[in-house]
């Protein structure tokens, strides 16, 4: 008798855990490694910025306004009030990441349970779908405008507006993954075994849905970073004199003819952060994709 061997698409040796395989795929993707390093550096700078920044962010120096980048003592120059641009960018990036993480966390806390419920309980699906439609009907900026009109402009309201705007996306991916998992044998086995709905959701479905949640969070963060920047730029988010990349650009717009570099640097930082998250998100999605390296 001959034993047929089935050629496997994935070259990873059998027996390796899924996590090891995913990490291995990520390590082999140079874009993933570079974006991860950028993000790790950004995180370290953001956390340590109060100590790393060469100047206090609100420290003005009217003798040295609009210093060009490269000025001794001010590597990236100074702004209209003589404040150090490097220090403000470091703390501004910290604020951006704070708002983005807060916003995405909010969207997950609300969206994940709703997505699970919509996918698992048929009766809840219609109700939660209408709720999602309702949220979608208020575009992010219009929602932020409404919130600012009712509660005033602030960092918290910016994070809330950005977070609410992310909820429908979270519900959608968690719902569809729950539907998929629910139809698998191991869930049916647990149900036959007498497990309660809550137990099945918490022990079987949620742990298996973590990878889609992780990817969703990674792609939501750059959207949130851009959202915060827009709101602060329009004056609906972080309020001056607190440093924010968006408000820095709003100020730079007024003095663009005199100090064009001030309109360039904060934007480069916002784009760099968003780009690193997007690249890493793409790589993570590919690495988690059981179909391997199709894309």
């Amino acid at each position: 008798m001959t034993v047929l061997t089935v050629p496997t698409v994935d070259a990873a040796p059998a027996g390796l855990s899924r996590r090891t395989r995913v990490l291995r795929r990520l390590r082999r993707n140079p874009l993933a490694v570079v974006s991860f390093v950028v993000l790790a550096l950004a995180a370290i700078i953001a956390v340590l910025s109060p100590w790393l920044a060469p100047y206090a962010v609100e420290q003005t120096d009217f003798g040295h306004t609009f210093a060009a980048p490269g000025t001794p003592g001010h590597v990236l120059g100074t702004d209209d009030l003589g404040r150090d641009v490097l220090s403000r960018i470091m703390l501004g990036a910290r604020a951006s990441l704070q708002v983005a993480i807060l916003a995405v966390a909010t969207s997950l806390v609300i969206g994940v349970p709703l997505g699970l419920a919509a996918g698992y309980f048929r009766a809840w699906d219609a109700v939660i779908s209408r709720f999602t439609d309702l949220l979608l009907a208020f575009p992010f900026l219009i929602m932020a405008v409404g919130l600012a009109a009712i509660r005033g402009a602030s960092l918290t309201n910016a994070a809330v507006a950005v977070g609410i705007a992310q909820i429908p996306g979270v519900i959608r991916v968690v719902r569809s993954d729950t539907l998929r998992l629910k139809s698998l044998d191991f869930v049916a086995a647990a149900v036959v075994d007498g497990a309660s709905d809550l137990w099945v959701l918490a022990r079987h479905i949620l742990p298996n849905a973590t990878s889609v949640i992780l990817v969703q969070a990674t792609v939501a963060i750059p959207v949130a970073i851009l959202g915060e920047a827009v709101l602060s730029f329009l004056g609906l988010g972080i309020q001056p004199p607190a440093p924010s990349l968006g408000t820095m650009l709003a100020t730079a717009q007024q003095f663009a003819a005199r100090a064009p570099w001030a309109a360039v640097l904060p934007g480069v930082v916002i784009m760099g952060l968003a780009l690193a998250f997007n690249v890493f998100g793409d790589a993570l999605r590919d690495a988690l994709d059981p179909k391997g390296d199709r894309r």
Binding site: S129, R130, D133, L134, L136, A137, F138, P139, F140, L141, I142, V145, G146, A148, A149, I150, A165, P222, L226, A229, V230, F233, L234, G235, L236, L249, A252, Q253, A256, A257, P260, A263, V264, P266, G267, I270, M271, A274, L275, F277, N278, V279, D282, R294, R295
Partner: protein
């Protein structure tokens, strides 16, 4: 088909009702007396009384709601508390600017996104694919208001190629109108183009490896014909879907773009209203956006089910 239509219509109507309730309650969630907020500068007791009466704030809440909906349905959103101009006539002047900007942005994004997406899928492993993919990632990551700022700085102020701000109505002078709108439209379209490109590429890769394309190739159809025929149909679905999904982002983007380029549209009107605490205007803007979003998405779903008959059966657009 009929059943799908009825379900979608009913769902849209329900969402519309819910969003109207949210907007209606929003103004009542303002801290303090809504009459005070609606009064603006004139806060005499008589003026407040007149406002309470005009808005029916002295009536029970459900009755207030019915009246509010009745007035809104007739296009009566009250007057701006800053200028006294009816909100409806403000909208009549502002909306055409935004609609034109949005349509221009969608057209540019579709042309660019579909073109780059097809190119990236057909030229796999070629530098063109890398370039298209890289540009799409940058398009997704770049803050548009910053791009607008740079465009004004380096294309308008420095070279004078484009006007930095202002607007000329289409009917007054179509050439000048386009000259003022083209830069804002390109910038508003970048994000959309990036999303369309990525989806088109993905859809093309799927269809290029599918059986019907292999059959088409096997029966001797030239590669170019295969690509154009299948790419066009798939791209249409991709563009329609994405415009529906990204409509909210497009509206948000228009608000910012108009603000930066000083275009007298819906977005600028919205931001001005927030800083002037012009509540009747804000309320109208929010309600109108929600209505537009729901109606357009309903139409997109209809169009979608016409283009792709499978949707009618499953009733679930992806």
């Amino acid at each position: 088909m009929a059943r799908y239509l009825i379900t979608r219509a009913w769902q849209s109507a329900l969402t519309l009702l819910l969003s109207t309730i949210v907007v209606f309650l929003g103004v009542r969630a303002l801290p303090g007396d809504p009459a005070l907020a609606l009064a603006g500068e004139d806060r005499s007791p008589e003026a407040l009384e007149a406002i309470r009466h005009h808005y029916g704030l002295d009536q029970p809440l459900p009755l207030q709601f019915v009246r509010y909906v009745g007035r809104a349905a007739q296009g009566d959103f009250g007057e701006s508390i800053r200028t006294g101009i009816p909100v409806s006539s403000m909208l009549t002047t502002a909306l055409p600017v935004t609609v034109e900007l949005a349509i221009l942005a969608i057209l540019l994004a579709a042309a660019l996104g579909v073109g780059a997406g097809v190119l990236a899928a057909v030229r796999r492993g070629h530098p063109a694919e890398w370039l298209a993919n890289g540009l799409a990632l940058v398009g997704l990551s770049v803050p548009h208001f910053w791009l607008a700022l740079l465009a004004i700085l380096y294309l308008s102020v420095a070279t004078g190629l484009f006007p930095a701000s202002g607007f000329v109505p289409l009917l007054d002078n179509p050439v000048d109108n386009l000259h003022h709108l083209i830069l804002p439209a390109v910038i508003l379209g970048t994000g959309l183009a990036a999303i369309i490109m990525r989806q088109t590429r993905s859809a093309m890769l799927d269809s290029l490896s599918s059986d019907y394309v292999r059959t088409a190739k096997a029966k001797g159809l030239r590669p170019r014909a295969v690509i154009t025929h299948h790419a066009l149909r798939n791209s249409l679905i991709v563009v329609v879907t994405i415009v529906g999904l990204q409509l909210g982002g497009l509206i948000s983007g228009a608000v910012v773009t108009e603000q930066i380029f000083g275009l007298p549209g819906f977005g600028k009107m919205t931001i001005d209203a927030v800083f002037q605490r012009d509540y009747p205007v804000i309320q109208a803007v929010v309600l109108l956006t929600a209505t537009a979003y729901i109606v357009i998405n309903f139409l997109v779903d209809l169009l979608y089910s016409v283009i792709d008959p499978r949707i009618r059966v499953t009733g679930d657009p992806a």
